[in-house]
Point group: C2
Chain length 404, copies 2
């Protein structure tokens, strides 16, 4: 098996795809001694390892024949039932079995939604900035991205409306909007209730689908939960991706997506030819973890843990970053977004930081229009306090040096 030049054989989708900047930086982060605030992975210190051992032993003793066998493409029925209850009780999303498909991470929910909804050149609006996993899924379906500003109240729906109007005048059809409503990646901001309602109105008026990606919604440290966009929609225009990766165990790759039954049905048919079904063992473990009440407890404990880490990072930032630098105070999630003075380039700063064994994610890859050169993302989720303190102090020094 040699490697001829067969570039001409690759698909348009393969050519649209750009390697994820975060996945690439993760390779650097693994270098020994690196103090990383880059990865938005959860803290292994709060993984429920003991509980999973206990559940797995019981499962494999009593129902190995099911837990190790292929399962239904839509997911384990009992788990979907449990999640339908959770959706109603916890999130105010009225739904039953037919509204739910179990996915391999919420990323797969987004990918399935893009597959069944996006044709080549369909326009999808996304935040400036936004998570490039979401934009990557749109690009893999050869969709076209357009940007809308994100401010302290999330995606600016007023600006979105202007752009939709403009495109409509030009005869251009828009397919949808991708939004991370809670503690957005990378800005940490939350979409206000008013804007959630506005977004739903816009979707109905302009015949759009809303891709609501909510991996961080459970990680609220303070303030009240806002109703999910899907709960405000009366027309079946929202597909809502949830994750268990931040509150359970990301390595088990089990998540769920809620949507109107006919959309979920199409996603299930697509999934038959993508991976047949999601890992059965992981689904049964999660089912037991939720049923026994451990998941709800774990979310509370984790939130105390991450709140402490957020507070710690905010104290460090205040102590070490100069006043010309700005950042937000997120009410939950994993991220703080940094605005540098216009004289400092974040990619450039990152290169120097890595020489000093400090890593973060520069902002630019989050902006589909190539802006964001003076921004970067810090995550307090994964590293311990010692690393956070040392990394922020070092970054403060490097920034101050550039301000001289």
């Amino acid at each position: 098996m040699s490697t001829s030049n067969l570039q001409h054989l690759y698909s348009k989708s393969a050519c649209c795809a750009v390697p994820s900047a975060i996945r690439e930086i993760n390779k650097l982060v693994d270098l020994p001694g690196m103090k990383s605030l880059a990865g938005g992975w959860p803290d292994p210190a709060v993984f429920p390892g003991q509980e999973i051992i206990r559940i797995t032993n019981k499962l494999l003793k009593n129902k190995a024949g099911k837990a190790l066998q292929y399962g239904a493409t839509e997911g384990v029925t009992e788990l979907r039932q449990e999640l339908a209850h959770l959706a109603a009780d916890r999130y105010g999303i009225a739904c039953d079995l037919d509204h739910i498909v179990i996915t391999a991470g919420s990323a797969q929910g987004m990918d399935l939604a893009c597959r069944v909804l996006i044709n080549p050149d369909d326009v999808v609006f996304v935040g400036l900035p936004t998570y490039f996993g979401g934009t990557g899924a749109v690009m893999a379906a050869c969709g076209q991205l357009q940007g809308v500003a994100v401010d302290d109240n999330g995606l600016n729906t007023r600006q979105l409306e202007d752009q939709l109007q403009r495109l409509k005048k030009n005869g251009q059809q828009v397919k949808g909007v991708y939004v991370i409503p809670n503690f957005q990646n990378p800005t940490g901001t939350t979409l206000s209730l008013e804007r959630r309602q506005h977004l739903v109105e816009l979707a109905e008026h302009y015949d759009l689908v809303i891709f609501e990606d909510d991996p961080y919604g459970d990680l609220r440290f303070e303030g009240d939960h806002l109703p999910p966009v899907i709960s405000l929609d009366a027309h079946g225009r929202v597909v809502h991706m949830r994750s268990m990766s931040k509150t359970f165990a990301p390595g088990l790759r089990v998540a769920w997506t809620i949507g109107p039954p006919e959309m979920i049905r199409k996603m299930v048919v697509a999934k038959q030819f993508i991976d047949v079904a999601t890992n059965s063992l992981a689904q049964y473990i999660l089912l037991e973890f939720i049923r026994s009440g451990q998941w709800a407890k774990r979310v509370q404990l984790n939130n105390q843990h991450y709140k402490r880490k957020r507070d710690f990072m905010l104290v460090q930032l205040a102590a070490h970053f100069p006043e010309q630098v700005q950042w937000n105070q997120p009410d939950g999630g994993f991220f703080i977004f940094i605005q540098l003075p216009q004289t400092i380039d974040a990619a450039n700063l990152l290169a120097e930081a890595i020489e000093h064994n400090v890593a973060f994610v520069a902002g630019e890859p989050f902006f589909i229009d190539g802006s964001g050169a003076h921004t970067f993302r810090l995550s307090y989720s994964q590293s311990g306090e010692t690393v956070i303190a040392a990394a922020v102090a070092e970054l403060g020094k490097l920034i101050k040096k550039r301000l001289k």
Copy 2:
């Protein structure tokens, strides 16, 4: 969340997708009392439940932080290394790390390959009949399918050559060929060495990619293993999907695909936006299962088990089916393919069989040209001998009744 009529919003890919006939029949099969020879799932009796408990306990005690965390998109490095050795030692496929991506079942390998290689309307040749998981992945990428006969030596490459020539004369470009080289689903036939070589020649001559789907290759009960098509190719034109689902535990959804490094790299980039990474815990369990030598032993034991079941079914068929019915004697795998006389319609027979609590898969969905009305697939993999005996006897009766 109500359900408006939003049919116009769905993509061409969603409209191309047809629900898998097997996944649909599986729902019937779950009915109490059903004697099923339909599903091609492995026998839970040979799942390594005890070994998996032991490995999981050790893993979650010693490395929960890794086994429950997100991993690299291409898969756990140590597992890819182990599989590269396996590929070389066991299958004669020279490869290293860069040639391997870990996938969520071999279905995902096929899906990734289709995503990075198939543009809408690209032509892909498939067997008449062939597995509809493979054709489904091509259809999801909006590729066009063309059929080639399958006989006792597998895909008829002579006929394929004629068709390639004809299409070339018409100026039509063909992208590739999908082939299941060993104990094909649904016919149980194996592609001869001569045809494997011919296929590789055709790929180079007509500028094609070969999608080599080999989930059953390890399940050879007798005779010598034939070299995989990928091992005969010198130009990087073959993507080779392997499965662990038939020899380990399908519910863990861990498989691997081998291909030229630049193709694997493109598949990894696509996978970043599909599911981020394959289940870490499942990968570490499989790694330990292979390293400790248990996998190799398990393959041997399983093959003895499935050989007994195959032999048993062949005896039952000889005893109960009338002489006007024909079938093959596969050297491995899970399937026996039945040819009925032209007067008997298999879908019709299936409807009556289900009334008698017997299930199988009618042949038609395996034929992309809609032929195969007088064929059906039996599987000896999943059911026990009592069920096999009763189901074959009942089917024999129903067929004989129709011959009167």
